[in-house]
Symmetry: C2
C-alpha cells in the first residue's frame, strides 16, 4: 500500500480535463465550470480556480484479503493511453451512516449492497481511485475518480446505476456526478 | 457520533499541562518541553511552541456494536474535576500494519490483542480520546490522550504495560510516552 496521497480536484477556467456534464444528483449543487485539473500532492490551485475538492488516498476500510487479491490482480493504473473519459463523483454520507459501527457498515456495503464485487466486475475496463475527505473536514466525505475508454462508457453507466440502487446509497445525502473528457 | 474534531497538542514554554516526563519508547525522540496546550478545533499555536502534534477524532474503525454499547455506558468525558493527571501517547505503525486488510487488522487488535476489552476494563477510571494523524499526513499515525485521577495512576500504568505486550504493539515502530499534570 502506498502512503496517503493528498489530491486536489480543481474546477475552473483551465485544466487538462474538459467537463462535459456536471449534475447534482442529490443535495446542494456545485458551480458549473468548463475545466478540471487533478493535482496529485500538496500543490496549490492556480489562478482561475472556482472550487477545489480535496481528499486523501488511504488504507482500505472494508476490503478483505480475497477481495484485495482479486482487486490487485485486475485493477489498472490511472492515466492509461486510450482512457480518455473520466468521471468524478463526490459524495457525502448521512450522520446515520457515520453512527454505524464497523461491522454494520461492512454488512451494508458488501454483504447486502455488493459494492466491492460490483466494482470488480467492471475491472480492468474502469480504473478507479478513492479519496477520503471527511477526516480532512472537507465538503465531501468521498471523491471517487474513474477513467475508461470511450468504448467502455456504456458499462461505466451501468456500474453507476447499479450502485445507486443499493441499500448503501440510501445513506448518501449529497452526490455530484461530473463527466469529463481528456483535453491534453 | 460527533463529527470529526481537529485537535492540536502544542509543546512549548506555556500551557495548562505541566510535562512531568517525556520518553521515546521506540524510534525517534521528540524535543523535551516543560508545558503542553491542548487546542480543540482549528486554532493556531501561540508563540513559544516547540512542536505541534495534530490529529482528528473520527469514526471508530474496529469497534463492533456490543463493544460500542459497553464503551458508551462506561466511558467518562474529558476534563472531569479531579482527573488532574494525563498522558499523551503518540504512536506510528509500520508499513506492514498498513498493508494488512481490515479483517486482518481487527483480528490482531481485538481477537488476539484484546485492545478494546482491555481499555474497557479501565473504565470509567481512565478517560481516553483517540486522534488520527495518518490521513492528515502528520508525524504520528495516532495520538491517544488519557485523563485520570492521581489515585488511578497505578491502574493506568498497568493498562499501558498490558497493551505494550500485545501482538498489536509489534507493529508500532515509533512511540513517545508523555505524562502530564494539570497546572491550571
Amino acid at each position: 500500500m502506498a502512503p496517503p496521497l493528498s489530491v486536489s480536484f480543481v474546477g475552473g477556467e483551465r485544466g487538462t480535463w474538459e467537463i462535459e456534464r456536471l449534475v447534482a444528483v442529490r443535495g446542494q449543487a456545485l458551480d458549473d465550470v468548463p475545466r478540471l485539473t487533478v493535482l496529485d500532492g500538496p500543490q496549490a490551485a492556480g489562478a482561475g480556480a472556482v472550487w477545489v475538492l480535496r481528499g486523501v488516498t488511504s488504507n482500505e476500510r472494508y476490503v478483505e484479503r480475497p477481495e484485495r487479491d482479486a482487486l490487485v490482480a485486475r485493477q489498472p493504473t490511472l492515466r492509461r493511453p486510450g482512457a480518455t473519459q473520466a468521471a468524478l463523483i463526490p459524495i457525502s454520507k448521512s450522520p446515520a451512516w457515520w453512527d454505524l459501527t464497523q461491522e454494520e457498515r461492512r454488512a451494508i456495503i458488501e454483504t447486502r449492497s455488493r459494492h466491492i464485487a460490483t466494482g470488480l466486475a467492471y475491472l480492468p475496463a474502469v480504473a478507479r481511485r478513492l479519496h477520503h475527505g471527511r477526516d480532512l473536514q472537507q465538503e465531501f466525505d468521498f471523491l471517487t475518480w474513474f477513467e475508461f475508454a470511450p468504448a467502455d462508457a456504456g458499462p461505466f453507466e451501468e456500474l453507476v446505476g447499479r450502485l445507486r440502487e443499493t441499500e448503501e446509497w440510501s445513506y448518501v445525502d449529497r452526490e455530484i456526478d461530473i463527466r469529463l473528457q481528456y483535453a491534453g
